[in-house]
Symmetry: C2
Subunit: 488 residues, 2 copies
C-alpha cells in the first residue's frame, strides 16, 4: 500500500469499498470520475450496488460522470435499482435501456457545460465525489489515472470525497495530467492555451484533506474496448475527409501545419488518422476528448507533435505495445479536465478541425446525433456540440445509408436536431463531401443530395426537393412538412 | 470638409458617390459597415443602385454587412436588381421578400463567425469594403461612426476600401470605439477582456492608405427606429425575467452584481431593462450587440456601470435627450467589432445573462427563431446562437400565442430549429418561467406546457404529451411524429 499512498496521513482514511459504500445516503448526488470507459471509479460503485441489492434500500442516486463509464457504474447501479438520475452522457446498454424505458431520468448536455453548471449550483448540492486515482505522492498530491473528465470539479464541489487508488494503473501516469479549473464568474480569466501542448495547471488534483471521507484500494482494471476494423465505407469516408482537408490547405483556407484535430471514437476516426499517416502532413496536433490507439500509432510514425485529451483508452490488442513504449509517448500527450478539452474558448482559438458522426442529416444540414427515430436516445450529444459550434472547420460524417442500405441517412427533415444548419461546414459520406459554407438552404440541399446521398435514394430526395421548391410559396427553405414524417 | 478629414493626404481620394460607384465591377463581393440600422454605408450603395437602374447592367453583387442595415443598402440594391447574394442577417422587408421569392440567395449565419470566415477565405475574395466613418483625424486615423459590426474585418480583407465620411455623425463619437481583431490561426491569442469595460484595441480602424480607393462625403443620417411601446404581454414577460434573475441570485446561482446582460432589440428587451431600473440591482453591465434608448435611461438612473455593444441606435424621440447628455454617457459605453461583442470566449468568461426571442418553442425546448412555418425566413439567427450557446444563463422568451391568440407559440415540434434543447436554461412567456436545467425531456415538456403555454392550448398539448408517453415505446423523448406537422 505504501507504494501508492506515500503521504502517511492519508493512510488513516483507508477503508474497504463496502465500508465506503455505507457512507452514501439515499437521495445523494454523486460525481464520479470517468470518461469514455477510462479512469472511472469501479470498486465503490460496485459496493454501492451490492449494498442496494442486499438491503433492498431505495437509494435514488443522481449519478454524474465525465462522460461514458464502465459497467461497474452504469450497469451495476442500474441493475441494483439504485440510480434515479443520470447525466451527462452514457454508452452502456443497460442504463440506456432503462433510460428509454423511462425508469431512469437522463439529462443529455454539452460536456463543456458540466463543470460550470456544477460550480454555479445548477445541479444542486453534490454530496460525494468518487474519483479513481493512481496514487498519492509524498507531498499528498493526488495523481489522476487514465482520465480526468469532470473529476477535478466534483472534488472541488462535493461535500465529501472518496478516492479509489487503482493499483492496476501504472505509476508512470504521473506527469501527463494538467489540472486547471476555470474560476467562477466574475473571477474567470482567459485560459492561457495557445498550443495543444501548453501546460497551464497542476499534475495532481488539488483537494482539501479534511473533505476526504474514504480511500479505497482496488485492482479492477480499465477495460479498453477493441478497435473495430475499418470497413470499406469508413475507409471511403476517411479518404474523403483527408482529400477535403488537403484541398482546403491548397486553397489557403487552412494553415499548414494543420490546426489540431478533434475526432470522435471508432472506425472512421481511426481510418482518418490512418489516412493522415499516409499523407504528406506532418507536425500534427490533436486537441480532442479521447486518445486512442491510432494516436499512438501516429506518434510511432513521427507524425504527431502533441496530443491533448481528457481520456486515454487503449484497446487490448494494442496494450502491450503501448506499455512498452509509454516513456516515448509520455512527453507527447496530456490529459486535461473536460472543461478545458471541450472549452469553446480554446476550440475557437486553436481553429480545430472537428470531425463528428451523425445518425442522420437532413438536406438542409441539420444533424441528429442522439435519437433513433427522434425518440430512442442512443448516447447523447457529448462533446460534439462543443466542437462543431466552435471549430475552425466543422465536419460531420455519416454512411449514406443504415440498416443494410434500406434506410437513407440523408432525409428531408431530421427526427431530432442536435446540431443546426449553422454549425456544419462539410458533410461527408462514402460518396463524397459537400462544402456547405455560404450556400442558401435550397442550394445546399441539392448539393447534399447529389454529392452525399446514396444513389438509390437520390431520385426520391430530389423529387422531394423539387416539389418543395415548386409547391412552397417561400423558396428560402422550401419544405413540404406534411410529408416529412408521414411514414413515422 | 477639413473639419472631417484632418489629414491632408486623404483629401486626394475624395470623389462623389457616383464616381465611387463606378469602381464596382459586376460579380463583386462587397463588405459594408452597418449593424442594426446604424453606421451603415449609405451614399455609395444608393449610387450603385442608381447606376444599375440607369445602365441596366447586371451587377450580381454579393452584399455582406455586419447585421441588418438600412433601406439604402437592402431596399435600394434589391429594387435595382443589383444584389445576387446577401449575408449574414437582414430585417428589411424588401430584401426579405426577394429572398423568400428565391430571387436573392441568402446565407444566414452566426454573427460571431463572420469575421473568422472572411479572414479564412470562406467567402472567397472580398473585392470592396464600403465603410461609414465619422472622420479622419490629424494622424490619418479613421474614426468609426455608430456601429462597427464587421467593418474592421472588411477593411482588413478587402482589396479596395471606400470610405463614406458622414457629416451627420457627431465628431464626439471619437473615443467610444475599441477596434480589435483576432489574428488568424495559428496566431490567435486570448482576447484579454475580463470586464465589459476593458479596452483592448484602438479607437480607429487601422487601414493601409494605398488600399483606399475613394472617400465620399455624405450627410444622409442614420434613421433610428421608434421604440415600440411596451404592451401588457411584454411587460409580463419582462416581470417574469426580472423575477427569475432575482431568484437565481437569492439561490447563489448568479453573483451580485449581476454578470453582464445581453438583450435583443424591441419591446420586451426594453421592458426588462425598465424592470431592472425599478429593481434593487445596481452596478449593472451590458455586454450585447445593440445599445438602445433603455440603456441610456438606465445610465441616467445610475444603474449601469458600463455598456459594451457593436452598434448604437437611438430612437427619434430620444435623440434630443441623448445628444444633450452624450458627454455623460461617453465614458460608460464602448463599441466593439461583432467578432468581439459576440465572441463565445468572452461570453462564457463573463457569464452573460442572455435574453433571446423565439418565434416558436417546442415542448422539449428546441427553438425556432428564424422561419415562419419552417419555410419563410424572417430575419435570421443573428447573434442569438452566439449568446445562447455560451451564456452563463440562457433565457428564451416568447409570447405564449401569436396571430391574436389563435396560434400557440408552444408546439409539439418546431418547424425549424435554430437553437437546440441543449442551449436553453429558462423559457419565459407572459404566464411564467420554466427552469429547464437538468430535466429529462418528458419532464421539461410537462413543465413548459403547465407553466408557459397559454391556458387555452394546455389541454391539447398535454393530450399530445400524454399520448406520446403512452404510445411511444421510448420514454426519453416521446413523440408521435406522424402528427406533429399533420396540419401544415
Amino acid at each position: 500500500m505504501n507504494e501508492r499512498i506515500k503521504c502517511e496521513k492519508y493512510l488513516s482514511k483507508v477503508m474497504t469499498a463496502d465500508e465506503a459504500a455505507k457512507l452514501i445516503y439515499p437521495g445523494a448526488t454523486i460525481g464520479l470520475s470517468g470518461f469514455t470507459p477510462a479512469g472511472h471509479a469501479k470498486a465503490v460503485p460496485l459496493a454501492i450496488a451490492k449494498r442496494a441489492e442486499e438491503t433492498g434500500e431505495k437509494l435514488d442516486l443522481t449519478i454524474m460522470t465525465g462522460a461514458s463509464v464502465g459497467d461497474q457504474i452504469d450497469g451495476a447501479l442500474t441493475r441494483a435499482g439504485a440510480m434515479k438520475k443520470r447525466l451527462p452522457y452514457q454508452t452502456n446498454s443497460t442504463v440506456r435501456n432503462a433510460i428509454n424505458a423511462g425508469e431512469i431520468e437522463y439529462f443529455d448536455m454539452h460536456l463543456s457545460q458540466l463543470a460550470v453548471w456544477a460550480k454555479n449550483g445548477f445541479f444542486g448540492d453534490i454530496d460525494f465525489a468518487i474519483v479513481e486515482v493512481s496514487g498519492i505522492d509524498e507531498d499528498g498530491h493526488i495523481i489522476p489515472s487514465t482520465s480526468i473528465g469532470a473529476a477535478n470539479t466534483y472534488i472541488d464541489c462535493a461535500k465529501k470525497v472518496i478516492l479509489e487508488v487503482n493499483t492496476t494503473q501504472p505509476l508512470s501516469l504521473k506527469g501527463i495530467h494538467d489540472v486547471y479549473t476555470v474560476e467562477r464568474v466574475p473571477n474567470s480569466k482567459p485560459i492561457p492555451i495557445v498550443r495543444a501542448a501548453d501546460r497551464i495547471g497542476t499534475e495532481y488534483y488539488p483537494c482539501d484533506f479534511d473533505k476526504i471521507a474514504a480511500i479505497v484500494m482496488t485492482d479492477i482494471p480499465d477495460k479498453g474496448r477493441a478497435v473495430q476494423p475499418v470497413d470499406d465505407i469508413s475507409q471511403k469516408i476517411a479518404d474523403n475527409i483527408v482529400e477535403l482537408i488537403t484541398k482546403e490547405t491548397e486553397a489557403g483556407r487552412l494553415p499548414v501545419p494543420l490546426p489540431p484535430l478533434q475526432s470522435g471514437v471508432g472506425g472512421v476516426a481511426n481510418a482518418v488518422l490512418a489516412g493522415l499517416k499516409k499523407s504528406s502532413f506532418t507536425n500534427l496536433n490533436v486537441y480532442s476528448e479521447v486518445l486512442q490507439d491510432a494516436v499512438f500509432d501516429l506518434i510511432d510514425a513521427g507524425k504527431i507533435a502533441f496530443a491533448s485529451g481528457t481520456s486515454l483508452t487503449i484497446s487490448p490488442d494494442f496494450q502491450e505495445h503501448y506499455d512498452k513504449n509509454f516513456e516515448k509517448y509520455k512527453d507527447k500527450i496530456m490529459l486535461r479536465p473536460q472543461e478545458i478539452s471541450n472549452h469553446p474558448e480554446v476550440i475557437r482559438r486553436l481553429g480545430i478541425i472537428a470531425m463528428n458522426t451523425a445518425i442522420e442529416v437532413d438536406i438542409y444540414g441539420n444533424t441528429n446525433s442522439s435519437h433513433i427515430n427522434g425518440t430512442r436516445i442512443m448516447n447523447g450529444i457529448g462533446g460534439s456540440g462543443d466542437f462543431a459550434q466552435n471549430a475552425g472547420l466543422s465536419i460531420f460524417m455519416t454512411p449514406s445509408t443504415a440498416k443494410n442500405g434500406t434506410l437513407s441517412c440523408i432525409v428531408p427533415f431530421v427526427t431530432h436536431v442536435d446540431h443546426t444548419e449553422h454549425d456544419i461546414h462539410f458533410l461527408v459520406t462514402e460518396y463524397g463531401y459537400a462544402d456547405l459554407r455560404g450556400l442558401p438552404p435550397r442550394i445546399r440541399a441539392r448539393k447534399i443530395i447529389e454529392v452525399c446521398a446514396h444513389p438509390d435514394f437520390r431520385p426520391q430526395l430530389l423529387d422531394y426537393l423539387e416539389r418543395s421548391c415548386m409547391e412552397c410559396e417561400c423558396k428560402q427553405t422550401p419544405q413540404l412538412l406534411r410529408e416529412v414524417f408521414a411514414d413515422k
